[in-house]
Symmetry: C2
Subunit: 431 residues, 2 copies
């Protein structure tokens, strides 16, 4: 079904994995102090069906406001995406909104579409006016650099990086009715990562998680938001590095239709039963695979991290309760520093479960590190072997299972440790 | 009125500042690996009126459960408090509860009161059985060491320290009707500090904030919980070092009555008007002073900290909204690391305000560092001077003012930065 290479094998992507109907480019516009590529675009051959999700932060960067408006005015038909790194265009007031609008108008003129069919994104420093003239000046070079290869898509993934140390890319495909449907995505993000994406922006601020998903499926416009939300809620909305929800987080899905396969989405009958056609099931699975791979690549590249932790919470009263427990653990400095030190201090985990604000019975809480039982019934497990637990934590990738024992609620969540290097990266002040 | 020495002047306390009617002692019971004093007590000449507040964590250490039970059974009359450091007696199951009960029974026998008149506390490592036989064996020495001097109270403050680097003590007094009423308090806590105290334990876990307040006022038993809650809500419940709410947090107030002055508390008439007698107003003010001093001393001694930050939030819709904004800022790793680096990165603060989950209008948000206007109307202030802002942040004690501009809600909150040293302290694993 969905044929996806694991994150560790990405890149390189093969040209054959790139969805049809799109071109990609990246250039240097002069926003990054490093002089690296910092301005990128994806252009569809014709307006593509679009769906987006934005940060739930009530402070929202200008490009998100403009992007949301363009989605509405274009009836969710986007032909060009332009993304700059090095400046978030946030906390920049009306001038920032005007700058985002100007960049779209100029891009539309260069790429041959209306401004409303252009979707802007920015990531980088906040509170500093966007030097939109540099973006406008770079548009002809961006247009000239357009290409359909995997290398072009990877170039876009590189240009949107800020504190990222690796490019993030994933792809999946499936065959249906004699045709191949491709999905590919790129993302950036390493700090200020706790996406809480919803269908409209709260109102957004700093660097930030950005993800762009491209497919050559044809998606009914009404079905696209639902398909995206379903994929995002169990992937990008289930990761956290530092608990700081950015003001610029954006996930955009573009469907060119070039494969000739139409995804109708879920249909609801009068009895409120949900049905899906076989291609929708295949598409949903492939989209989930791409989103999950990108979400995990972001966590893997977390600032200064030494451990990636998969939390599996079960036995909660509800799924929402399970998520609150995961968040409580993922945001505890004491737990995250213990992981950094490979310290099997399960008491800190039990404490974070206790203050998560959900219904628990401490005497029913079980904790496992991988296959090692650590805590049973709220006390140390009779099988607890401190040396073995410490040995388990020496690995980079950890799985911690929590069973609350009070209900059917569960969730999966991915997070990181908190290291001295994270503090160094984020406290380094050099004007 | 309340005559309180600032934290920086404590210790030493004068003997004359110690509330009458109590004796204090501390000895080595052999629980701390360092061999330092680790077992302490306070004994009242006769049962004292008691009120306590406990952690809201749903995982609660055994001594809190036993202490709560003894308060109920004794009708809030406590004669002896016993506190050990080095073992939290938490996540220890029924055996832990039995051990806490045993220590109270033995202490009662030594100090000449019923077990129900003994209040136990523990702080230290969790998930390890309490070596109660060591405590019981040390009780005669503890009894022999009892004394009424300031040095004895300070000895108790030293014995309850865990990762604390300084003892924490504060005192206040006032004269009424020709008599002097004294209040003195001691506290411990440096990490796992985000007290969320309430009148009954959720059910508690690690080291922990402990505070013991002694007064020679006579307090009507019905008035004591209200007086304590009023003081705690604006002091201990307004500090956070790392956001981790411990399972053992306890604040206990004991009133010996030895001054001969009776505090009647607040009275409510049929029209639900609240009145207070003059001595209640004086007592409330003095108790608040002692609690605030102890709360600030805890923040000042936060693990690895380089900055103490006073947050003043105003203009929120409600006080509860203001508190949520303060918590969002106080728990943001990106803001706390920026403080550590003296980095005037106000965008991170604006982002945390945005994801606090309260009603805001980003265009009305103003931020000041001390007297320096940094952000006005959600954008950089025209008066922003980066060098001056950086200069301000070089100080150890900072005041950050946030005005949300949408309502009358406000709060004050005290927190710290997040340094590499904090990570080192809490990730250091040595078996």
């Amino acid at each position: 079904m969905a044929d996806t290479s694991p994150a560790s094998q990405m890149p390189p992507l093969a040209d054959d994995q790139v969805p049809r109907g799109f071109s990609f480019a990246a250039v240097r516009a002069g926003l990054k102090a490093s002089g690296n590529p910092d301005f990128a675009c994806a252009v569809a051959d014709r307006p593509a069906t679009a769906a987006a999700m934005f940060t739930s932060n009530k402070v929202v960067a200008a490009p998100l406001l403009v992007g949301q408006r363009h989605l509405e005015r274009s009836h969710h038909q986007i032909q060009a995406v332009i993304v700059n790194a090095g400046n978030a265009n946030c906390a920049t007031g009306e001038a920032g909104e005007y700058a985002a609008q100007q960049s779209c108008a100029s891009a539309g003129a260069v790429f041959g579409c209306a401004a409303n069919h252009v979707f802007p994104s920015s990531t980088g420093i906040i509170g500093v006016p966007l030097p939109v003239e540099k973006l406008i000046a770079a548009l002809p070079a961006l247009h000239a650099a357009l290409g359909r290869s995997a290398a072009h898509l990877e170039g876009m993934a590189v240009a949107i990086m800020t504190t990222d140390t690796r490019l993030k890319i994933a792809a999946a495909s499936f065959d249906f009715g004699g045709a191949t449907v491709r999905i590919a995505g790129i993302a950036k993000g390493a700090g200020m990562i706790h996406p809480q994406l919803q269908s409209a922006p709260g109102t957004a601020l700093h660097a930030t998680m950005l993800a762009y998903l491209f497919t050559d499926a044809a998606i009914a416009p009404a079905a696209a938001p639902d398909l995206l939300r379903h994929a995002v809620d169990s992937t990008f909305n289930r990761i956290s590095i530092d608990g700081d929800t950015s003001t610029n987080d954006t996930v955009l899905l573009l469907a060119s239709g070039a494969s000739g396969v139409t995804i109708h989405g879920h249909t609801h009958d009068a009895f409120v039963r949900t049905a899906e056609d076989p291609q929708t099931a295949l598409f949903s699975s492939a989209l989930h695979t791409v989103c999950l791979s990108l979400a995990k690549q972001i966590v893997e590249d977390g600032e200064g991290i030494q451990h990636v932790v998969e939390l599996t919470i079960g036995g909660a009263l509800t799924d929402a309760d399970a998520l609150r427990v995961a968040l409580s653990i993922a945001h505890s400095p004491l737990i995250k520093t213990a992981w950094a030190g490979c310290d099997p201090n399960w008491g800190r985990i039990l404490a974070a479960i206790g203050y998560a604000g959900v219904a628990i019975d401490p005497t029913r809480v079980n904790i496992r590190f991988g296959e090692l039982e650590i805590c049973r019934g709220g006390c140390v497990s009779p099988h607890f072997d401190e040396a073995a637990a410490h040995g388990y934590l020496l690995q980079r990738n950890l799985t911690i299972h929590i069973d609350l024992g009070v209900g059917p609620g569960s969730c999966q969540f991915w997070t990181t440790d908190l290291t001295e290097e994270y503090v160094r990266i984020n406290s380094d002040y050099s004007t």
